[in-house]
């Protein structure tokens, strides 16, 4: 069973935007959609390493700011003709707080 840790308030993340968290496994982008769903993805486009947290959020998709690769935030899979995927992390909202998988805290997983 996944253990979650609190990383901040939902309102700290702008709608259709993202905030970054630093983790032992690199930066992770935490996105918030227009309808207040949250997603957590590695903040690194598999194409050229662009910071996905700076991409435009539309629906449950995000467009990488460097070369417009589009990812489905549910699966982390690149859309259209581009091939590749970004790792996704378990994340949820409880009473206005954003909780993320505790495996991002543990040092033993550090790559």
């Amino acid at each position: 069973m996944t253990i979650f840790v609190d990383i901040g308030a939902l309102d700290d993340i702008p709608r259709q935007g993202a905030r970054v968290i630093r983790t032992a496994q690199g930066c992770v982008a935490v996105f918030r959609t227009l309808d207040d769903r949250v997603f957590a993805l590695d903040d690194r486009c598999p194409h050229k390493g662009g910071p996905l947290s700076e991409g435009m959020v539309h629906g449950d998709r995000v467009t990488c700011p460097l070369h417009n690769w589009v990812f489905d935030m549910n699966s982390g899979a690149a859309q259209g003709a581009d091939e590749g995927a970004v790792r996704t992390w378990p994340v949820r909202v409880e009473r206005g707080r954003v909780l993320i998988s505790a495996e991002l805290v543990s040092r033993s997983n550090a790559a």
């Binding site: 700290d12 259709q16 970054v20 050229k48 700076e54 539309h58 467009t63 589009v70």
Partner: protein, 810 residues
């Protein structure tokens, strides 16, 4: 079976064989000789092959299976060398064949001007697949190409090579392009469009020689001009290929002489296509050749038939150049003109009338009504009744709405839709009612739109009329995949429907996606803030990263910071503050930009509000080096210091920058102000450039110095600095209100026409209203975003939300 020998596998003989096999299969055994090592393909489609839009395989009209199915003995790559009329046989380079009837369809040969150097390697013609492949294989990208001849063929060759990346110059002997099809006004519009597409045009240019040692290097004209040329394409004209007929002592004038049944002076020999001369007329367009094929098929089947050439219409197959020409448009006694001009949109229509009948049609820019006019001309309809509104087309006759579908609905069944194949509206309607429900199916059974393809849209409209909602035509390109509405539509609807938010636009205009995408959202955000500066709140999340973060993202995710230096002028204090900031935040690179300011590259995102606060403290504000908005006003020192300066160019530049900064525009905007015509500020390749002269200020606009390089064009001159500022402000506002998002001013001006822009800013009330609307918008946007984002509440938002590495370490 009777023996038919055909010399030449071109479009005319191909159509003849189709007609023959369809009407009477098994009547003739056909032997087909062709000098080219292949069968028939659609020669009208060579220009898309040249430009890379199509391949040879896609333009083949008769493949090996077709010939085999009809028992045609194909002798491809075997040029016929002799006709033995006495024994009724032909001989090729390798064999021969006897005939009961012979058809000569040898077509035409390109004409090469016999100037010195015309035999050098690198001089090509443009007539068949070999020529096309030679041009493709020469690898024209990045090379200089000269096309000699500004007729249909020459312009298609020029456009094809330009599409493959060549730098193309068209040299044309006459005063305007396509003088056989266009009058000077339409020729001028065509030239303007081609020049916008980067093709240079030199009219009244007589070729004197082709220069070069081992191969073509340049073209020398009679007037002394030299155009560099790695490749020279001769497209001055064609002449009927009559050598075989000459050798066989058939009657030959300019072409092989044929009667109405297409019989030559030998009753067993027939001819058709571009090699024939019929009643002193030779033929170059495909429509009359197809008529000849029909007639000759009937002649060969022993039926009575007579060829009667009809007027044909011309369209140019160059993307973006929409022209239509038919009939006779020379001026003459008893002839009258009806002319419609909309220079702003580059539209020109001219009807030539004689005795209340249309005798000529020339259209440029909007050719939708061409076929309707053509029908009136062909039927010699008396247009006296509708003369007042004739030029507005069929939709206007009877007061129906100006709907393109209504125009097509108004066409009578016998109106010609496809000029190449002579297919009328009724035939298409019958085909659709008979079960052809797709464009391909209609094409297959009627041939409509199967040759040059320019009537495809019309054919689709006829299909839609016939099928109603059952037909889904390909729609014009929308902004992106989220909508079928074009940029222009969306802008118009935002205004007319009073839509004031992105969700409202997406809801009311039926967006197909949730939340749009990275293409439409920034465009919508711009259109809304430009339309409703006071009501609409800029949506940061609909902006690209650079505009959202007020800094330019670099490939490693760091940012560059460029403080504004008004007119490129700075102070020791500002420089000290920049130096301090660079050291404090360990900026890896400090660079001077092309816009006369200083770029701090490699700043981390969380440092941005801090470095901004430090710079703000020294009086420095954002330089908007990241925005679709005003970037810089580059200046020279002007009359303040320079011994040549005529006006205070630095002062004017600073004044303009302080007026315009912070404004959002469809794309970035850069200005330059030079104090004298020596132009040290390089003002004439900017979006707006000012050259100061003794008598005042010369304002020019629509320059470019990026992927494209383009000199500015004069907008206005004025003795007064105040008026210069007003004109420039009005121009910027006009651009903000009308240009499509991501069109730089030069692209926008090219679309609407400089004349229209001039007229808007020259008219004082219009100009003042533009300036006023600009000021309303600036009351919101003329402010420093760095200051707004470096407050104590905002600054924390630039740092990570959490740092789990610290918790891990605990």
């Amino acid at each position: 079976m009777k023996k038919l020998v055909v010399i030449g596998a071109g479009m005319a003989s191909g159509r003849l064989l189709e007609q023959l096999f369809e009407a009477a299969p098994g009547e003739w055994h056909v032997t087909l000789f062709n000098a080219e090592p292949r069968g028939n393909y659609n020669r009208l489609m060579l220009s898309p092959v040249l430009s890379g839009e199509k391949t040879y395989e896609q333009i083949v009209t008769h493949d090996a299976d077709w010939y085999a199915a009809h028992g045609v003995d194909c002798r491809f790559g075997e040029p016929v060398v002799r006709i033995d009329r006495a024994n009724r046989a032909v001989y090729s380079n390798t064999g021969g064949a006897p005939y009961d009837a012979l058809v000569i369809a040898t077509g035409s040969a390109p004409f090469i001007i016999p100037v010195p150097g015309s035999d050098l390697p690198g001089v090509v013609t443009y007539r068949d697949l070999e020529d096309t492949n030679a041009m493709i294989e020469a690898g024209v990208a990045g090379k200089d190409a000269v096309v000699v001849g500004g007729g249909l063929l020459g312009l298609e060759a020029a456009a094809g090579m330009a599409a493959r990346g060549a730098s193309v110059t068209v040299v044309h002997l006459m005063g305007h392009l396509m003088e056989r099809q266009l009058d000077p006004a339409a020729g001028y519009l065509l030239q303007r469009d081609l020049e916008r597409r980067g093709i240079k045009v030199h009219c009244k240019g007589a070729t004197k020689a082709i220069l070069g040692h081992d191969r073509a290097e340049a073209v020398l004209l009679e007037d002394g001009t030299v155009h560099a040329a790695d490749l020279v394409c001769m497209a001055v004209g064609i002449r009927p290929e009559v050598r075989l007929a000459n050798d066989a002592h058939l009657e030959v004038e300019r072409g092989i002489v044929v009667d109405d049944a297409l019989r030559t002076s030998d009753p067993h020999i027939f001819a058709l296509g571009e090699c024939v001369e019929h009643r002193s007329q030779v033929f170059g367009l495909v429509a009359p050749l197809y008529d000849q094929a029909k007639v000759l098929a009937r002649t060969l089947l022993g039926e009575e038939a007579a060829f009667r050439p009809v007027q044909t219409a011309t369209k140019l197959k160059v993307t973006g150049c929409d022209l239509y020409s038919a009939g006779d448009f020379a001026e003459g006694e008893g002839r009258e003109d009806i002319v419609f001009r909309d220079p702003g949109r580059g539209i020109y229509k001219r009807l030539v009338l004689e005795n209340d009948r249309i005798v000529g049609v020339v259209m440029y820019g909007d050719t939708a009504d061409g076929n309707w006019f053509y029908g009136l001309m062909k039927d010699e309809t008396d247009i006296g009744e509708m003369r007042d509104t004739l030029i507005f087309g069929p939709a206007f006759q009877g007061g129906t709405t100006l709907d393109p579908m209504a125009a097509v609905a108004a066409l009578p069944p016998e109106a010609e839709i496809c000029g190449c194949n002579g297919v009328c509206k009724g035939t298409i309607v019958d085909a659709v009612l008979g079960g052809a429900h797709t464009l391909d199916a209609v094409r297959a059974c009627t041939k409509a739109s199967g040759s040059c393809g320019t009537c495809t849209g019309l054919v689709e409209q006829v299909m839609k009329l016939t099928l109603g909602d059952g037909f889904v035509a390909p729609v014009p390109a929308g902004i992106c995949k989220c909508t079928d509405h074009s940029h222009e539509d969306v802008r118009r609807l935002i205004r007319s429907m009073g839509l004031k938010s992105i969700p409202a636009v997406m809801q009311e205009l039926g967006w197909k996606t949730v939340g749009g995408c990275h293409s439409c959202r920034p465009a919508l955000n711009y259109y809304l803030l430009a339309e409703y500066p006071l009501d609409y709140r800029d949506d940061r999340q609909s902006r690209f990263v650079n505009e959202r973060n007020h800094a330019n993202i670099q490939k490693d995710g760091t940012y560059s910071v460029v403080p504004r230096m008004w007119g490129g002028v700075t102070t020791p204090g500002e420089l000290r503050a920049i130096a301090d900031a660079a050291e404090k935040y360990a900026v890896p690179m400090v660079k001077v930009t092309g816009g006369q300011r200083i770029d701090l590259l490699g700043v981390r995102k969380e440092d941005l509000p801090h470095i901004w606060a430090d710079l703000n403290a020294a009086g420095l504000v954002s330089g908007h080096a990241y925005s679709k908005g005003l970037r810089t006003v580059k200046t020279c020192v002007g009359s303040e210091f320079c011994r040549f300066g005529t006006q205070d160019s630095t002062g004017l530049g600073i004044r303009l920058e302080k007026l315009l900064w912070g404004s959002w525009t469809p794309h970035k905007v850069k200005l330059g102000v030079s104090g004298c015509p020596r132009n040290c500020a390089e003002a004439t390749c900017k979006d707006v450039g000012v050259i100061c002269v003794d008598s005042g200020y010369q304002i020019s606009v629509a320059g470019a110095a990026g992927m494209e390089v383009k000199e500015t064009e004069p907008l206005a001159s004025t003795p007064s600095e105040d008026e210069a500022v007003e004109i420039i402000t009005a121009f910027i506002q006009l651009y903000r209100e009308h240009a499509r998002y991501l069109d730089r001013p030069y692209k926008w001006v090219a679309k609407v026409g400089l004349d229209w822009v001039k007229a808007q800013v020259a008219d004082l009330p219009t100009r003042r209203a533009l300036v006023e609307r600009f000021e309303v918008s600036q009351s919101v946007y003329r402010r420093d975003p760095w200051a707004e984002h470096s407050t104590t509440t905002e600054t924390p938002k630039w740092a990570p939300l959490a740092d789990l590495t610290l918790e891990a370490a605990e």
